[in-house]
């Protein structure tokens, strides 16, 4: 195999194996930042040796073995540097002791750890709440996805130095806060899981919000988030919100191909060509949702959002949409995860299910609260409901107000067109 191909194969392999290798090393050295450094050293060694020696028979096993050896080496050096009598024999004893400890730890872990998995420890540590969200995302992509700093920087459209800094600081913060590399238990598991899910969804949205034709890395971020979601769902199959988030991402991703017109302008959900939705992803999303709903306990916000997305996915035509069900789900969502934006969406669904007057009632409430002042979708929704009630002049004013608030040129054009479509004041029939 030519050297370039070997290097490319290695990068590909690293994307698939990084989490397992770093997770294993982190278990030995008990420090995710250090584990990632050690894994990088192994990667560099492989990049030097493989093009010369050829691909090993089992490349993944090679990486794992090399990384484990290096981790034990590290422990040995630390012990020597700490001046523990310095004798080589002693150091070797220490390495053996470390290996024995590790074996004992593994057995203990298998016996009483609720999940006991290197990869799971890794993601819980990388997503630790002591880190700011953007640091969690970068570190997660690095250790779970094996992405290089360059790739992460491209994905976030940030200078490489910024991302490198972010990752270095994250590693330091974890070490300084003495965050143990472990999977939390019981009530803490649920609390910490929120942070993990938030990171995965942030990564997904970073990719989802990007338009096609931009750097390929951005849609790839959404795929990476889906992959992490599937891995997590495999490791924590009894956590409803893990399945709920997975379902939400799969169903949203099923619309990737349909959500942009050939000229790059966004196509609204109701106007999308549904034949372009990815059926397989929908099926996977619905499957994850079914499993989430079958678990005992109340539904969490991700699951309810997935259930709403599923209502759209199940409708063969926009006209078939079960708005009554969607309105009910928004009602649940507004109670478990209240926010003005959720209530605005609820107003849309209620307006579709029970008529514009019912929707308008919620919008008026939001309007008088003032919490969505300056948010263009509030007047846009209001305009839509008013125009359906035949109040064209008022609707026109709302659309124009919305057009004045949005910063997106395409959205502004759309809103102005809607204002014009309201026409002059309707002439009274004689």
């Amino acid at each position: 195999m030519p050297p370039d191909d070997t290097a490319r194969s290695l990068v590909a392999l690293w994307h698939l194996e990084a989490a397992r290798v770093i997770g294993r090393v982190a278990r030995i050295v008990r420090d995710v930042g250090l584990a990632e450094d050690i894994a990088q050293d192994v990667l560099v060694t492989a990049l030097e040796r493989w093009p010369v020696d050829g691909l090993p028979a089992n490349p993944a096993a090679w990486l794992m073995t090399a990384a484990s050896h290096r981790a034990l080496d590290h422990l040995r050096h630390t012990a020597m540097a700490a001046g523990k009598e310095g004798a080589i024999g002693h150091a070797l004893d220490f390495a053996h002791q470390a290996a024995a400890d590790d074996a004992a730890e593994r057995i203990d872990a298998a016996l009483d750890d609720p999940v006991g998995d290197d990869v799971l420890r890794l993601i819980f540590t990388a997503c630790h709440p002591v880190l700011p969200p953007e640091a969690r995302c970068a570190l997660t992509l690095k250790v779970m996805g094996g992405l290089s700093t360059t790739e992460i920087a491209r994905a976030y459209l940030k200078p490489e130095a910024t991302i490198a800094q972010r990752i270095v600081r994250a590693k330091r913060s974890l070490a300084a806060a003495r965050v143990p590399c472990e999977v939390p238990r019981g009530a803490e598991l649920v609390a910490r899981l929120d942070s993990v899910l938030e990171v995965i969804y942030l990564i997904f949205n970073e990719g989802y919000a990007a338009t096609a034709g931009e750097d390929w890395m951005r849609p790839a971020l959404a795929e990476e988030a889906q992959r992490l979601g599937r891995v997590l769902a495999g490791l924590l199959p009894a956590q409803g919100e893990v399945l709920g988030l997975l379902a939400l991402m799969e169903i949203q991703a099923s619309r990737f191909a349909a959500r942009l017109a050939p000229d790059g302008s966004p196509v609204l959900l109701m106007e999308q060509d549904r034949s372009r939705w990815d059926r397989l992803l929908i099926r996977r999303g619905l499957d994850a949702l079914n499993r989430a709903e079958a678990l005992p306990g109340p539904l969490g916000p991700y699951t309810v959002q997935a259930a709403i997305a599923a209502c759209h996915a199940r409708a063969a035509r926009a006209a078939d949409t079960d708005w009554t069900h969607i309105a009910a789900l928004y009602d649940v969502l507004a109670r478990i995860a209240p926010s003005p934006v959720v209530r605005l969406n609820q107003a849309v669904a209620v307006g579709m299910a029970f008529g514009p007057e019912a929707g308008l009632e919620i919008v008026e409430h939001l309007h008088s609260e003032g919490s969505l002042d300056g948010y263009p979708l509030l007047p846009a929704v209001r305009g839509d409901l008013l125009s359906r009630l035949g109040h064209h002049a008022e609707a026109r004013a709302e659309f124009l107000r919305a057009a004045g608030l949005t910063r997106n040129a395409r959205e502004r054009a759309l809103l102005q067109a809607r204002a014009e479509a309201c026409g002059p004041l309707p002439r009274e029939a004689r």
Binding site: R8, S9, V11, A12, L13, H15, L16, P59, A60, A220, E223, E224, Q226, R227, L228, G229, R230, V231, G234, L280, R284
Partner: protein, 118 residues
């Protein structure tokens, strides 16, 4: 990006295989599928019955023609598939290389794309 790994087997090999070996090969493939699933990259995987039970349908001549298998003119048949989601072609190749079927069949790696894309 989605890739399809097609397992191309030599026709007639299945019938010549001892039963316990056939089960072992199948179990290896199931374990492989499970590992892809655990990595979050498997979309779908199936093992297919031999083409003796297949039917080919074509209406190219104007009206539908049905041809029952086996299709003796073909030396190979598709014995199964894995549909995977990976970031790059290299990853798809790395996975194909790991597929147990490379020991007894040919694994063809195909990128999923609309048929009007050349």
């Amino acid at each position: 990006m989605a890739y399809l790994l097609l397992i191309n087997e030599t026709r007639g090999e299945r019938a010549a295989r001892p039963e316990d070996e056939a089960h072992r090969l199948y179990d290896d493939m199931m374990a492989f599928a499970a590992s892809l699933q655990a990595d979050g990259i498997l979309r779908a995987a199936e093992s297919l019955r031999t083409d003796e039970h297949a039917v080919r349908i074509s209406a190219r001549s104007g009206k539908p023609q049905l041809v029952d298998g086996p299709f003796a003119e073909a030396r190979e048949m598709v014995g199964g598939f894995f549909l995977i989601d990976v970031a790059t072609r290299e990853e798809a190749l790395a996975i194909a290389r790991r597929c147990p079927a490379v020991a007894w069949a040919t694994v063809e790696v195909r990128e999923c794309a609309p048929c009007h894309v050349l």
